[in-house]
């Protein structure tokens, strides 16, 4: 086993998981001495009736009257300030976030302002501005993928300066994460597929990137196993509540894993494609994951090969020659994408040129690839990737991922020493 020279690991979020997990919220809030929560969510969640599901579940024990449902897809600090203002006006003492990544980040930001005082989130910019315990924050994820309920980061945009502000502090971590399959039941099949592949990417990258450590490894391995066993089943049968709960668990575990190690090339490229072409994060992840593994294979092939055990089970693992395991892993991830493509009637994209918007127009034009390749240098995920990735390297990966052919590994620039974890 690999023991790094140094690592740090922290996971202090309480997790409740189960078919009736939502019902536990009132008692848990009471324990945190909170009685008047502000629900932060978006229009989509309300439209899908999920706030009502929560309302019914908590029953009379906790009355949900204060609801802010105006969180946009790309939330910014003005929304955060607005939420904090309402929080104070209504005399709330806690936040319940119901939604995906954007809602959870907004709630984390609003909790900073609401707990620490002040008018705006901008006062708390920087690395160590949040220095004490915040008010109770409960997170109910409605997608099984982002893992934001377990991360100590909140990413919030500043549209005036056109930047994304990063808030990092252990105090930002939610106090409670509630995993209940009722919350992901209405998710369309192609979103179930892509968000789960995001979680898969978190687990895989946490496992082979530079900040890997034994604790995050164990979370990652189990998350991979759960996703590979359940994802296709749930996509084919959306009413499979047990499978949905399993995916929600896997996503949370993958969140713990990558929050305590780091992600690499796949997220580096994915963030950039997302910023430039507005490709949904999960879609970019599903497409790029096999390429990220291929790109790093000469540096840490053995470690990537270990992923075969949770991905395919002990029989396949034992039957596969050690040298062939990493390639087998890539092959299986590609097969998974293909199966999902078929199960969703083509709505799960496998290559970059396959992504289309609502009107059927291409989202990532080939002409933008050089721009994307240059911009990858500005994303923090490049640090933890085992192999160096300069614009020319990113271009190589992007071209292959665009056309949908496996990466020609003989073209990958080599020349590093053994990876030190």
């Amino acid at each position: 086993m690999l023991l790094p020279g140094f690592y740090d690991f922290c996971c202090r979020v309480r997790i409740v998981s189960g078919q009736n997990a939502l019902e536990k919220i009132p008692a848990m809030l009471k324990k945190m001495k909170a009685h008047t929560p502000l629900v932060v969510t978006d229009k989509g969640v309300v439209g899908a009736g999920l706030v009502d599901v929560v309302r019914d579940a908590v029953g009379k024990e906790l009355e949900i009257v204060n609801v802010f449902d105006n969180v946009p897809v790309d939330s910014d600090y003005k929304i955060v300030d607005e939420v904090a203002k309402i929080y104070r006006q209504k005399n709330c003492d806690s936040i319940i976030a119901i939604g995906g990544g954007s809602v959870i980040d907004t709630a984390k930001g609003a909790n900073i302002v609401a707990s620490l005082g002040g008018e705006t989130l901008l006062d708390y910019e920087g690395f160590s501005a949040v220095k004490r315990k915040l008010n109770p924050l409960v997170v109910i994820p409605t997608t099984a993928g982002t893992g934001s309920e377990m991360t100590l980061v909140a990413v919030i945009a500043d549209p005036d300066r056109k930047i994304k502000m990063l808030f990092v502090s252990y105090f930002i971590l939610p106090d409670l994460a509630v995993l209940d399959p009722r919350m992901t039941k209405t998710l369309p099949d192609f979103l179930t597929a892509s968000t789960a592949m995001d979680a898969m990417t978190h687990a895989c990258e946490a496992y082979y990137c530079l900040e890997k450590n034994p604790l995050s490894d164990s979370f990652a391995m189990r998350a991979i196993k759960i996703i590979s066993e359940n994802l296709l089943k749930v996509v084919k049968n959306p009413a499979d509540m047990e499978g949905r709960l399993a995916l929600a668990n896997a996503s949370t575990m993958a969140g713990v894993a990558f929050s305590n190690s780091m992600v690499g090339l796949v997220h580096n490229l994915g963030h950039t494609i997302g910023a430039i072409c507005h490709v949904p994060h999960g879609t970019a992840m599903s497409i790029l994951l096999p390429y990220g593994m291929e790109y790093n294979m000469h540096r840490c092939g053995e470690i990537i090969g270990e992923i075969l055990l949770p991905l395919a089970g002990p029989e396949v693992y034992a039957q596969t020659n050690k040298k062939e395991r990493p390639e087998k892993v890539v092959e299986l991830i590609r097969k998974m994408n293909n199966d999902l493509y078929e199960a969703t009637g083509g709505r799960h994209s496998r290559y970059l040129n396959e992504i289309t918007d609502k009107n059927g127009a291409q989202v990532v034009p080939e002409s933008l690839l050089p721009v994307i390749a240059q911009a990858t240098m500005q994303d923090g995920a490049r640090m933890a990737n085992p192999e160096e990735c300069l614009p020319a390297d990113a271009m190589l990966v992007l071209e292959h991922a665009w056309q949908g052919k496996p990466l020609d590994r003989s073209k990958v620039n080599k020349g590093g020493t053994k990876v030190k974890y």
Binding site: F127, E211, M262, M377, Q378, D379, R382, M383, A392, N413
Partner: protein, 204 residues
């Protein structure tokens, strides 16, 4: 417990490491200033930083150490006033025209936009004696970054290129994630830049 059995710790014990780190930071600072003039890739990379930008790389804590006593025996360039008063620092400034200048070790009166702080002298020693690559050091929390993370990515990349220029392959390989092959960077460019940077860094 017999306290006399325990060896006395002398503050001067780490002097060698401190002097070494100070010289390395000075060299790196000067080298970046020169490389920004003579190398296209470094120039392009540094162009990503905003103008009027001050960057500092330092070893915590920010305090003078008894280097005074050795001042006479040290080469002149190490005995920077800032070094004596504020400890080991390296300050780089990008001005309005985009020119990069090494400003020594005196932070007084300067607004630092990006601060890269080695947590202690041991951490700086590990990195600057190339026992640990920049990436590994980052993973092992050897330094903290205060300021915009994106700018620190630019700086790390510049540091990597300059190290490739300055160091022989066998050492540079330990410092960077990937040592460039022929196709990525020609030996001629490496060699010419190495000579130019060394000469200009130590003469101007």
């Amino acid at each position: 417990m017999n306290i006399n059995k325990y060896p006395e710790i002398h503050p001067g014990k780490k002097l060698f490491k401190r002097v070494y780190v100070a010289i390395m930071l000075w060299t790196v600072g000067k080298a970046i200033q020169v490389a920004a003039k003579v190398d296209k890739e470094v120039k392009e990379e540094l162009a990503k930083l905003p103008d009027n930008f001050t960057l500092r790389m330092m070893v915590a804590p920010e305090k003078a150490f008894p280097l005074f006593f050795y001042a006479k025996t040290l080469p002149a360039f190490v005995v920077d006033k800032g070094l004596l008063f504020y400890g080991i620092q390296m300050i780089l400034h990008k001005d309005k025209e985009g020119k990069i200048k090494y400003l020594g070790a005196d932070p007084k009166g300067k607004k630092i936009d990006l601060n890269i702080v080695f947590k202690n002298i041991e951490a700086a020693w590990m990195v600057l004696s190339f026992q640990e690559s920049t990436a590994t050091a980052y993973m092992h929390d050897r330094f903290v970054v205060e300021g915009d993370l994106v700018h620190s990515l630019t700086f790390v990349r510049v540091l990597d290129i300059v190290e490739i220029f300055l160091l022989p392959k066998i050492i540079a390989k330990l410092a960077v994630k990937r040592y460039p092959k022929w196709a990525e960077m020609s030996p001629l460019r490496k060699f010419v830049k190495r000579v130019v940077i060394y000469i200009r860094a130590y003469t101007f």
